[in-house]
């Protein structure tokens, strides 16, 4: 078979320019397209590092490359996903180019379902796969995956890799969880989800390889789905991410005032300490001592909408509140629907997020007669309750969707709050596109805010923190 012959399936797989350098550059290009910042200096480091590890050892090669180009755990995740895909594709493209196929002479004659002239015993295959999964033996799993595919006949599948993987798995009777007892009645150790996924990955890879070999074309490479690269989510992890963003916010808010005031302006000489220091220099006050500058303590008021229109976002909002309470001591938080209710105590006395959320919903004390938010009333109540304490040093953050349900928005009261407080920010759980549609009166409030942001993921929260700190908004 001539490699130059046009494939009946269309354009032949193009392995691109040859050589390791070109491949690595291509790989880094792909990393960049997925948002990993790989600079030229990183590339140079990668090449320098690869000179010191044997390129024949995949583990070392991968680690050396990862240590030089993937500089955070998130980057590392993307790296892992792309590394497998990219070099797998590169190798396959190269194989197609040179007409290398896996079906050697011996296998070509045999029917699918036979390997080495011996029929594959389904029961035995299942047992061996199970053992390999339990032992976590990658090499064995790979071999067994090929054996399993051979048993079902190469190229006889539906042509859709995902469907075939599941078909083979089902036929083999492989399931996660408790295993049926063996033939002699002995109990089998359970297989967990991760082990099964591991085997499925090998199946998928071998099926893909087979497909590429038959069609002699590479399937188009797709950008990583958002789903693949997202961290495995659980509520506690989201909480951790929120906490991280908030602790950054704390630093930013704490240093913000000082930068504006300048460093040397307004410093007070500490006479006592200056005199003491002058003893070292024979009583000559050579060095002035200043009173230590107290970082200005941010005073924060957070108003959080917990009505039904923001139900989906309220867990996120509550976790933001929870994190804020972990970071700031001078923080007062309020929840509101129709009326306002202070929940500072709940957060201060209870650290467990689940309990906090439960207590707020049960005894938050939000006078919830109709269940509809009344922003106007909330501003009025907030102003009468807190107005004396608001001063230019305080920051007010509102978490809500600005949907008034047709009630009076009292924007002029909101303006008063804005006037008294140093800074006023609004975080809206709706996309900007929906603002001011329907009963949303965001525009009325927005002009009194120092900033209004859409915010329903930790990414948005980080963006907000960056803007507050005077930085540039993170690219979406």
């Amino acid at each position: 078979m001539s490699p130059a012959a046009a494939s009946p399936y269309g354009r032949q797989a193009d392995p691109g320019p040859p050589g390791l350098v070109a491949k690595l550059l291509g790989f880094c290009e792909e990393l960049r397209s997925e948002g990993v910042a790989v600079g030229t200096s990183e590339l140079l480091d990668a090449f320098a590092a690869l000179e010191h590890v044997p390129w024949t050892s995949q583990a070392d090669f991968r680690e050396a490359l990862a240590a030089t180009v993937a500089k955070s755990q998130d980057d590392r995740r993307v790296f892992e996903l792309l590394f497998d895909r990219y070099f797998f594709r590169a190798a396959e493209a190269e194989a197609v180019q040179h007409g290398v196929t896996e079906r050697g002479e011996g296998e070509l004659g045999g029917e699918g379902g036979e390997a080495g002239g011996e029929r594959i015993d389904m029961e035995e295959l299942r047992e061996r796969i199970r053992e390999a999964m339990l032992a976590g033996d990658e090499d064995a799993m790979r071999d067994l995956a090929r054996l399993a595919i051979a048993a079902f006949g190469r190229g006889e599948g539906s042509g859709v890799v995902g469907v075939d993987v599941q078909r083979i798995r089902r036929t083999l009777g492989l399931t996660a969880g408790q295993q049926p007892p063996g033939e002699d009645g002995t109990e089998q150790p359970p297989i967990d989800r991760a082990q099964l996924t591991g085997f499925e990955r090998h199946l998928r890879r071998e099926l893909e390889r087979d497909l590429i070999e038959r069609t002699e074309t590479l399937p188009p490479s797709r950008p990583l789905a958002e789903l693949d690269r997202a961290l495995p989510t659980s509520p506690t992890q989201d909480l951790a991410a929120v906490h991280r963003a908030v602790s950054q916010m704390k630093r930013r808010l704490a240093t913000l005032g000082q930068e504006q005031r300048g460093r040397s302006k307004g410093q007070q000489v500490d006479v006592r300490r200056t005199m003491r220091a002058s003893l070292e220099t024979g009583g000559v006050p050579l060095r002035l001592r200043y009173r230590p500058k107290r970082p200005r303590r941010p005073e924060i008021y957070v108003l959080c909408d917990v009505s039904t229109s923001v139900t989906s976002a309220s867990v996120f909002f509550l976790s933001v509140l929870h994190a804020l309470h972990g970071s700031f001591r001078k923080l007062r938080s309020f929840v509101f629907i129709e009326r306002i209710s202070e929940v500072t105590d709940v957060f201060e006395h209870e650290r467990d997020f689940a309990v906090v959320a439960q207590r707020i919903s049960s005894e938050g004390g939000v006078a919830d007669i109709s269940g509809y938010t009344d922003y106007g009333r909330v501003w009025l109540e907030f102003l009468t309750e807190i107005s004396d304490e608001l001063d230019p040093r305080s920051t007010v953050i509102v978490l809500g969707d600005a949907r008034t349900n047709g009630r009076e928005p009292h924007a002029e009261v909101f303006a008063q709050i804005s006037e008294r407080a140093g800074r006023l920010f609004w975080l809206n759980p709706e996309p900007k596109l929906y603002w001011n549609y329907g009963d949303s009166v965001m525009a009325a409030y927005e002009r009194y805010c120092d900033g209004a942001f859409e915010c329903w993921t930790t990414r948005h929260l980080e963006n907000f923190v960056n803007v507050v700190a005077g930085g540039v908004p993170a690219a979406e």
């Binding site: 590092a49 240590a67 755990q73």
Partner: protein, 293 residues
């Protein structure tokens, strides 16, 4: 020396009591070959600082440690002029001219070296550990850049002080804030995580060799269960080792419910965590055998 090959680095580290996994050994090896700093990130208590100490022991280099904290500045990290000594010099040399004095008092003799300066001016190569870099301000990070990429420090009065010997630099971070791109770009990146069951068992048995194997296995299994809970402070590797030693002292033969409750405070150190662990893990353990007689 510990820069022969990856396997040799691993072995040398194991010899001084640090069982490195493949990535850790490889990155340590590369750091020495490429003269690049290592940035180690990971949860608290997985042996980030210990890696630097082990590197120092394995290579026979002195360890210079800079513990970072909020508000750490140049004077405490790099150098400071020895102001009193300068003053004495001025008073003592009454006759010499101004230019002589000026030249004299801004010489290395009057410089107080702080860890970073010490690391690069040391005649013997050292291991420099910059611990918990995420605790400092971003300004401090910027200050480190010159040191990390060129191994030199610029003192306005003296000029550049370049490293006479190449230190191995290890920076650790608990990931409490995102470090700047500029810093990351200059480093090799290593993520350390809690070790797997087998490796943790090796570590525990290395540090508590008298512990029977069955008990050690039980111990790491329990530790793993505890880490799987959502705790304020999950037990670190050091705490597993402490617990292993405690069990030895107690003469425990198995980790049953009573032993666990008695010694739990070694691995869990928060009031709320203790309740949670006692409830979730303690209950799963076998009942203590009733004392005979």
């Amino acid at each position: 020396m510990v820069d022969g090959s990856v396997a040799e680095v691993k072995e040398a580290l194991a010899k001084v009591g640090y069982l490195a996994d493949e990535p850790a050994a490889l990155v340590s090896f590369l750091a020495q070959r490429l003269d690049k700093p290592i940035l180690v990130e990971g949860p608290a208590g997985v042996g980030k600082t210990e890696l630097a100490k082990a590197l120092s022991r394995a290579s026979g280099r002195e360890l210079v440690r800079l513990q970072c904290y909020e508000g750490l500045d140049e004077a405490k990290a790099m150098y400071e002029w020895n102001y009193r000594k300068q003053l004495l010099r001025i008073q003592a040399g009454g006759e010499s001219g101004w230019s002589d004095v000026q030249e004299d008092i801004f010489s290395t003799e009057f410089l107080l070296t702080r860890p970073l300066m010490q690391a690069i001016s040391s005649p013997e190569p050292v291991v420099l550990l910059i611990d918990e870099i995420d605790k400092t301000d971003q300004e401090f990070e910027a200050m480190l850049l010159e040191l990390l990429s060129d191994f030199q420090i610029t003192i306005p009065e003296l000029g550049q002080v370049s490293a006479t010997t190449m230190p191995i630099v290890v920076l650790t971070s608990n990931d409490s804030r995102e470090l700047t791109e500029a810093l990351k770009r200059r480093c090799l990146y290593l993520w350390l995580d809690y070790p797997g069951l087998e490796r943790e068992m090796e570590i525990v048995r290395l540090h508590a060799p008298d512990l029977p194997e069955t008990l050690a296995r039980r111990l790491v299994e329990v530790i793993e269960m505890v880490r799987a809970l959502d705790l304020k402070k999950p037990p670190s590797i050091a705490e597993s080792i402490d617990w292993a030693r405690t069990l030895l002292l107690m003469g425990a033969e198995d980790i049953d419910r009573r032993t666990f409750v008695q010694s739990m405070s070694i691995i869990v150190k928060h009031r709320t965590d203790i309740d949670l662990v006692a409830e979730r893990v303690g209950m799963k353990l076998p009942e203590a055998p009733s004392p005979a007689g």
